[in-house]
Symmetry: C2
Subunit: 193 residues, 2 copies
């Protein structure tokens, strides 16, 4: 018998199955039984490793948030000038939406749950804050840029930029066949003129 030491734990299998289900059907259409089936695991295992459904979903959110922030942070290191950094961030974001929107879709799906669940709401509020922070610290802290946009604080602008990215991304998810739509992301660069 071959022993694969990298074989995922039972609890990891469950977590990844939950992630898969939610990204492909939405949290509202995902039952514990669905997840157990995809994970190839007995239903009761879900309650054993994660206390209840909310506990499991929270771990899924934590996983998605971690992956999302890591990728954004990574792509903010490319490019020298603020314009360049913004360009590369938008370029990555656009590619992510077209090729692998699973993580973003999970996060987006949960934002509507966030309005009604204290815990999840707090997590997604912090995510928006963190993304805005990353943009502010990595892109907007440029002296020449600061002069041009002095009418507004860099905090306001970073929130506007992260909001624009999110809002356009939602439109893309809603209409993935409209190939011209993602180019609206590029128009964000207008702010830096």
């Amino acid at each position: 018998m071959i022993i694969d030491t990298n074989e995922p734990t039972q609890s990891e299998k469950i977590l990844l199955a939950a992630f898969d289900c939610i990204s492909s059907r939405g949290y509202a259409n995902t039952s514990m039984r669905d997840i157990a089936d995809v994970a190839g695991v007995a239903l009761s295992q879900l309650n054993y490793h994660y206390k209840n459904k909310e506990g499991l979903f929270i771990e899924v959110i934590n996983l998605a948030i971690e992956k999302y922030l890591k990728e954004i942070e990574c792509h903010l290191n490319v490019g020298a000038s603020p314009q360049e950094k913004m360009f590369y961030l938008l370029f990555y974001f656009r590619g992510m939406l077209e090729k692998n929107p699973k993580t973003f879709r999970v996060l987006y799906d949960f934002t509507s749950l966030a309005l009604w669940s204290e815990i999840i709401g707090e997590k997604l509020k912090n995510l928006f804050n963190d993304v805005s922070d990353l943009i502010e610290k990595n892109i907007l802290q440029d002296d020449h840029l600061k002069k041009n946009i002095r009418r507004y604080s860099s905090r306001e602008i970073s929130r506007m930029l992260s909001g624009a990215m999110f809002g356009i991304a939602v439109q893309v998810l809603l209409d993935p066949m409209e190939k011209e739509l993602p180019s609206a992301l590029d128009a964000i660069e207008l702010v830096f003129d």
Copy 2:
């Protein structure tokens, strides 16, 4: 006995009750029984007037979309220059989010359902298109403005603007206590400099 001829129909009572429930608890937490209770009506009436749950929810969406578009269209008539029009639109939008976000919350709540329901997805896709159209036709068709933003089409820019409004609004809903957040909406005007 006083007869009020403006007494809402049974089906109207149901529709408004559904709207209320969804805007205050979210569609995923709203059952047919909840709606029947709020409407003061027998449960079976919901299936009599609207075929099933999806049919009722679709009417709620139609109602919300109608109200939303009408208000935006109305506030786009104020102001002369593009900058002024955008200012008044953002001013209205900000006030709406702070004072009466019920309609917007319903629409936002349904956007996550839209990813998994063909019919609802189509409706919200069209809503985004319509809002972008309104911005494009009422604000971006200005010759002087067109020169300044010639690098991008007015279509791209209108989609970016509507996306930014939506994205910032979501952040506001997620963190209603952060009073500085809505001012990020004002930063949208940067595009018009």
